[in-house]
């Protein structure tokens, strides 16, 4: 399915979605945290889209916002879409889990929690994955500081 057709189809589901294609080789869909889970389950289950393969889930610190970028691919139709969600709450960011849609998200979301401190609702096992339980701070955030281990130049 082409990007235009995708945009038209997905745009009908939820009115608030924003689409961009600039500065990226894929179609980007921006979604608000409330509608994230609805959109994701639609993308997976809709026979037209069938995005059954979540190949990359990255947390990004956009400065004032924290966000997650989901890269989705359909293994039958071979089209790719990027879903972006951001939250402005840096103190206590909470998003919905997509673990029930793609099982691989369990580990990826734990990684994001570990490094960005984004909590996921309904995640079965949300705890530190790489770092120790008593680690203070979230290292991949831009404002993280560690005088001992970080060398900046």
């Amino acid at each position: 399915m082409t990007n235009e057709a995708l945009q038209e189809l997905v745009g009908n589901w939820l009115p608030e979605l924003e689409f961009t294609e600039e500065e990226s080789q894929f179609l980007n869909i921006h979604v608000s945290p409330q509608n994230l889970h609805t959109l994701m389950s639609q993308l997976k289950s809709n026979p037209e889209t069938q995005f059954d393969y979540l190949f990359c889930l990255s947390g990004v610190d956009w400065g004032e916002k924290l966000g997650i970028v989901y890269h989705l691919e359909s293994t039958s139709k071979r089209h790719i879409v990027v879903v972006k969600v951001t939250t402005e709450d840096r103190e206590n960011p909470v998003l919905d889990t997509v673990y029930d849609i793609w099982a691989t998200a369990e580990f990826h979301e734990r990684e994001v929690f570990d490094f960005f401190g984004i909590r996921f609702n309904n995640h079965p096992n949300l705890k530190r994955l790489f770092l120790t339980e008593d680690w203070v701070g979230y290292p991949l955030r831009k404002d993280y500081e560690d005088d001992i281990n970080m060398i900046l130049h």
């Binding site: 600039e22 500065e23 990226s24 080789q25 894929f26 059954d52 393969y53 979540l54 190949f55 990359c56 990255s58 990004v60 610190d61 970028v69 890269h71 293994t75 071979r78 990027v82 793609w102 099982a103 691989t104 369990e106 580990f107 990826h108 990684e111 490094f115 994955l129 790489f130 770092l131 120790t132 290292p139 991949l140 970080m150 900046l152 130049h153």
Partner: protein, 373 residues
Amino acid sequence: METEVVNTNFKSEEYFINMGPQHPATHGVLRLLLTIDGEIIKKVEPDLGYIHRSIEKMCERDSYQQIVHLTDRMDYLSANINNEAVCLAVENALQLEIPERVKVIRTIIGELTRISSHCLWWGVMGMDVGALTTYFYGFRDREMINDIMEETCGARLTMNYNVPGGLMLDIHPNFVKRVKDFITHFKTKLPEYDRLLTGNIIFQKRTIGVGILSKEDAISFGASGPVGRASGYSCDVRKHHPYSAIDKVTFNEVLKTEGDTYARYLVRIQEMWESLSIIEQLIDNIPEGEHRVTTNAVIKLPKGEFYQKVETARGELGVYIISTGTKNPYRLKFRSPGFSNLSLLNHIAVGGKIGDLVATMATLDLVIPDIDR
């Protein structure tokens, strides 16, 4: 009135065992928390991070040339393919025209790396199921590839041979001859692998029907590489998103439908044959030309987001670069194949015995620095 204290996490027969971080079967410093009933595995919980170096954070302060050498240290068994991934991402972002010669050499070296990685995996797979001799036979053949790499790249494991824009050095004059020697040598040794291990009744009993992964689960867990293909899931990046010179050659994507440990084993063995045939098709036709396009000393990517997938020996490696137009990436995420492949371990190992878990882990072919990054 007395209240009975019940630990809800454990049934009375179950106990808890720490496999790793220093354990022969975890191939590095992976720690598995096993909940076991006798010998039957009830739950596997990986505990990661023992060699996490935060490469993604380091990338945010490094220039793009410097990032390439960090990727050597992720999946060190397919170092060259990792290098290629970053280089391709940067080249695509800069819209550089890469000479054909570079593409062909990159593909040949990539496939050599894949064979070398699979050789090591084969040796270690045998060792994990208890046949210690396979290790040395696998390493004997891997040694030849290492020599080829050393002669051309200068290093055996962490080559850093690719640079954005091409290759650091042109191939060594002996390269073609050595590769051809290796192909002749390896074609006599691969059937030996089959006779020693594949056909062995004990090995087959140990692997057939163990750790079954269905196609749906493979996709859902994001399995890639031989793990996914053994479940009948066509996930070869070289087929679906061809890069470098891979679209110039014909090769088969090895697919099995059983999804068990033995299928994963066979997929890797047959992939070695496929890689050999890819190299054979390319080795005589390396086009003449430049080995490198000159880039700016300071590479600044245009503002935007760039994603590049490549097929490493373990599966799909993704490089996701967010650039703000400066000389460093704003955010660089590596989607490593081992990380997703590890996440399905709990799913397929439960119900098996400790020996099954070891065999299953061997065919997932985990490289821990790749998972920990």
